[in-house]
């Protein structure tokens, strides 16, 4: 849980909006540090969390959360956290026979849970179509957000260079657009447009999409961030400690 990000998003472990669908996306950078933020935030808020880990193993998340002050093993023992190891299950699927991994994920939803996270670009690279992933996220949202008043947090990666006429990248771009439409809060992580910098790892664009009586209202804010060992710090563009 990064305190600066909490103040940006106006969330605390005691109060955050329920029924939200948060989308984390990145383009040519790595937004997984945001996953750790949300994971530790929800665990500190004492919600039940269901985590689908497709890319890294449980030990990886556990080691990092330890540094952020949350113990995943304890949460798992208490029953607060349900961790689904995508990698181990996938091996049993990939080698003897192939199964549609999308259908496997549907079984996970039966748990009554508040938070749900996953990493969806891996599903795309495994051959699940963008349409299936969009359907899955729609069902997630319907069940978790509307019925159970929970939150869904999803991480998507887009590798496109931003050209819309790339026909073969339609999978990930289409997925991005579909998911952005469905969600209520987006955090888009990008590298700095001016190039690589050792002290500023990139920029985050936070976009709230709220529905009000007269229509959709979007509010955007841009921050720069730096990831270090025990967390991440966020600051307004140009106010990095390396510059000032």
């Amino acid at each position: 849980m990064y305190t600066e990000l909490n103040s940006i998003l106006n969330t605390t472990p005691d109060s955050f909006t329920q029924g939200e669908f948060v989308l984390l996306s990145d383009r040519q950078s790595d937004a997984s540090f945001l996953i750790h933020h949300f994971l530790s935030l929800y665990l500190r808020a004492r919600c039940k969390v269901c985590f689908v880990g497709l890319v890294q193993s449980f030990n990886h998340y556990s080691a990092i959360s330890q540094r952020l002050g949350v113990s995943l093993t304890q949460a798992k023992e208490k029953g607060q956290l349900v961790f689904l190891e995508g990698q181990k299950e996938s091996l049993s699927v990939l080698i003897p026979q192939e199964n549609d991994t999308g259908s496997q994920a549907m079984d996970f939803l039966r748990d009554p849970s508040v938070g749900l996270k996953s990493l969806y670009d891996v599903l795309l690279s495994l051959g699940v179509s963008a349409g299936a992933v969009l359907d899955f996220s729609h069902y997630c949202r319907a069940i978790v957000c509307s019925q159970l008043q929970g939150n869904v947090v999803m991480l998507v990666r887009c590798d496109g260079e931003g050209e819309e006429d790339e026909g073969d990248d339609e999978g990930s771009e289409r997925l991005m657009k579909g998911l952005t439409h469905q969600c209520s809060l987006t955090l888009h992580v990008q590298g700095l447009p001016t190039g690589y910098c050792r002290d500023i790892h990139g920029q985050v664009e936070v976009c709230w999409r709220r529905r009000r009586g007269d229509g959709q209202y979007t509010q955007k804010k841009l921050f720069q961030y730096k990831v270090h060992d025990k967390g991440a710090s966020f600051f307004a563009p140009g106010t990095s400690s390396a510059v000032l």
Partner: protein, 408 residues
């Protein structure tokens, strides 16, 4: 803290602090000590050497056990093949087990070309070896006249001495001797010799990849590299070398077409490979002819799926070969990805402009620097005109077209 003596044999026996205390030194490291590995200083991961010490430094001390290193081949597959051979040769010297898979060359040919290790202070198990310590001919060893202090020492050093060093040097002009090579256990996978099985109908993986994955899993389970296997006294590391994955010889059309039909076969295989590696004591090096892959998005997802990724770009045959800027080097090396394993921040190298040079006894990677211009001509060839767009898939945006240095 001294505990009272349990048995009072002699009343005047002195209390030796070493025998009679209940103090037990807590062993911090739960890591099993395997020859040829060492724990990382950054995050405590178990590391193995890639065989190239400068590449070890670039990757943060070495290659972590359970990860994949992707090497994007240079145009003629000369230097990437060299690094693969260094990796396998290091495995032989450290007594690890090897697994080599190739579709183009027979794995035996690759194994015969391994470079010879430079063993100056290390003795390997060789039957006809002369012990270094005695300078006399064998028949006079019974009575050493000069080195008589060494008379009682064993003649051949045990092979564990070779594993106390991390990272060795190799002489590229000589090949490894067959005795040393045969001491290491090698598993081979040569695609043309492997019977093709029909793949299950809904598979996104090709038969070649699924056969390879199955064979890898069999070897890991059979030889006991699985982490879940019962702990025996001797654990070893399996070094996996996969040559030229994704090329047309594996049956993949990723490198042949702009819109490949099996676009996701290789990515599915890499995902399965990583899942296998994470649950076993093995490490893999995969080379990939990335210059043939047209689809940048698929290349991006392939890079993401591998933990470490570097790309080699050799100057051979290109216009840069005759360029005075690059005359000391053989090519450029780009670090595409470094892993974050159990930690939030990753350690990217500080400098993006790295070049490599293959010397006879060392493969060195250095920072590219402009030599001082001592000629009369004022205009110096600026680096911005030469360096192509080197995009680094890290937290930096897509690079602008080269750095434009101000020319005075």
């Amino acid at each position: 803290m001294a505990a009272p003596m349990s048995s009072v044999g002699k009343p005047s026996a002195e209390r030796s602090p070493f025998n009679n205390t209940s103090f037990q030194k807590k062993t911090r490291s739960k890591l099993i000590s395997i020859p040829g590995t060492r724990p990382s200083v950054q995050n405590g991961q178990l590391l193995v050497s890639t065989g190239v010490t400068s590449l070890d430094y670039l990757l943060g001390g070495g290659l972590a056990v359970g990860t994949v290193l992707l090497i994007e081949e240079d145009r003629y597959d000369s230097y990437s093949r060299m690094i693969l051979k260094y990796f396998l040769a290091e495995g032989v010297v450290c007594r690890h087990e090897l697994y080599v898979a190739a579709a183009q060359d027979n794995p035996d040919d690759i194994l015969q070309e391994l470079p010879a290790p430079i063993l100056d202070d290390v003795a390997m198990h060789k039957p006809a070896e002369q012990p270094r310590l005695s300078r006399e001919p064998p028949d006079a060893l019974d009575a050493m006249k000069i080195a008589w202090r060494y008379q009682n020492l064993p003649k051949v050093q045990t092979a564990l001495a070779s594993s106390s060093r991390f990272g060795h040097y190799y002489d590229v002009s000589k090949t490894m001797e067959p005795e040393i090579r045969q001491a290491a256990k090698c598993h081979r996978f040569y695609l043309p010799e492997h019977p093709t099985q029909s793949s299950p109908p809904h598979s996104t993986m090709l038969e070649s990849y699924s056969a390879l994955l199955k064979s890898l899993q069999e070897v890991i389970n059979r030889e006991g590299f699985d982490v879940a296997a019962p702990m025996s006294n001797s654990r070893n590391i399996l070094r996996i070398g996969l040559h030229s994955l994704g090329s047309a010889l594996w049956g993949d059309d990723l490198c042949c077409h702009d819109n490949p039909k099996n676009g996701r076969a290789l990515t599915t295989f890499l995902y399965g490979l990583r899942a296998l590696l994470r649950s076993s004591l093995s490490v893999a090096v995969v080379t990939l002819p990335s210059h043939l892959i047209q689809d940048r998005a698929i290349m991006g997802s392939i890079t993401r799926l591998c933990d470490n990724a570097i790309a080699l770009e050799s100057f051979k045959g290109s216009e840069r070969e005759t360029n005075p800027l690059y005359k000391d080097y053989h090519g450029l090396i780009h670090v595409r990805q470094v892993p974050h394993l159990n930690c939030l921040a990753s350690k990217l190298p500080d400098h993006k402009d790295l070049a490599f040079k293959l010397k006879r006894k060392q493969f060195s990677i250095e920072r590219l620097h402009l030599p001082p211009d001592l000629s009369d001509t004022v205009s110096r060839v600026s680096r911005g005109e030469l360096a192509g767009a080197t995009t680094v898939a890290s937290a930096c945006g897509s690079g602008s077209s080269g750095n434009k240095h101000l020319d005075f």
